[in-house]
Amino acid sequence: MVDETSKDKLVVKDLNVRYGTKEVLRQISFAVRSNEILGIIGPANSGKTSLLRTLNRLNDNDAAFSMSGTVTLDGQDIYKKMAPHTLRRKMGIIFALPTPLPLSIYENIAYGPKLHGTRNKTALNEIIERTLRASFLWDEVKDRLDMPAMKLSGGQQQRLCIARTLAVEPEIILYDEPCSGLDPISTAKVEEAMTLLTKQFTQILVTNNTKQAARVSDRTAFFLTGELVEIDETQRIFTVPCDQRTEDYVSGRFG
């Protein structure tokens, strides 16, 4: 029998997070398996964004932030054994609002690879086409790669950000409500991209839209005011959850 834990890509153990005196995450423990999409759902203020920021070490410069517990990536403690930029190279993040850099479409995607040492023109062109195809943006922009990325629509910008993240070749991709500002068609494209990306990446999707979690994630975790109430196969969470609070939330009977 294969050891279950050997498939665990990212392991969070007894994680507590505070901003100042405010506890935003309490005793969180869970594991993310290789190549799965883990959906994270929960009402506002449940600490979902705080969790992603902690996983990506985006809180490092926040003086109010403090944490205890461990987060390990492939068995390595991300806070003790890794430099933040090394970690972020392995773990990309897509924010709720698209964050294109004030550069052309081409340069936005080339930025990461160039940063990490890829200068060869052909190699860059190849990366750009591959990542834009993977994020379903290629057909819309292939003739105007020199256009400022800021001129794209919101949905296109978000897909550009996904392409840009893919170009760095991370192992894990975190999404924080990536479709909250998008129309249904763009949303469908993003979801389709995510589904295809499971071959190569491990993905964590925070979403306010429970239906989205039901559609794309393999497993789903339900957070409520800083606690992990339940984590299980998506199918079970949405049909036979163990906890009453989960059931109330997914059936829309909550607050």
């Binding site: 003086a63 990309g92 964050t99 850099l101 990461g112 940063l115 990490h116 950000c161």
Partner: protein, 296 residues
Amino acid sequence: MKSVRRIWNRIVEFVIEKAIFLAGILSIVFVVLIFVFLLKEGLSLFKEYSPLAFLFGTKWYPISHPPSFGIVPLLLGSVVVTLGSIVIAVPLGVGAAIYVGEVAPVWLREILKATVEFLAAIPSIVLGFIGLVTLVPLVKQVFHLQTGLTAISGSIMLAFMAMPTIVSMMEDALRAVPSSYRYGAIALGATRWQTIWRVMLPAASSGMLAAVMLGIGRVIGETMAVMMITGNAAGIPTSLMQPVRTMTATIAAEMGEAVQGSDHYFSLFAIGIVLFIITFAINLTAAFFINRRSKA
């Protein structure tokens, strides 16, 4: 009772409105009057003296016979001192702004900002005075010169005066960069330095250029400190290690002794016009950069 109040309110409203209008108009009127006066006095020089000889003459001998009012040495004096100070102040200012705005922890940031702004509160004459007794002997010693009263002393001194403007405006410019740019770059694995260099600085560049322009504007109009420590020899400077005389120092030094209504007197006003035009052009350029930033 109620109607009395209403009438009273209306009177107050009227008076305030007119007072504000008057204040606004007056400031414009004063600027125009000053400029007209400057033009009238300055242009009087050219009744007797050729504008070309004034602008391109290389000798400033205002009281010899016949006098010579060539402002090239003075113009070069101002340019050399100003450029020197900018060369010193810009790298220091950029470094300080990045440190204050991006790197320093919050508590230190507040202390540093307050200190930089405190520098702006020191009267320039005091800085000039301190420069005279500390910097001038130092320059003399370090560069083995006959006198420390040189362009470079003025440049160093002026760099200190330009720093508060440059640092605080640049810091504002960096702060105005949307934080999404920073997070966008960080999320791709950029180090802090890579983020600053490749994303923050380019995005803040027009605000930072405006800061430099305003710094130059501040420096080129500075008078007393420069007069005290640059030596005031009206020769054409060939290096930073020479005494120079700036336009402002010339006006300040000679206005007292020039006979009112004489060509010498008018020539000082003509220098004033040149100075005005230069400063105006610099401020206009700065405004252009600031505008471009607010549109971007």
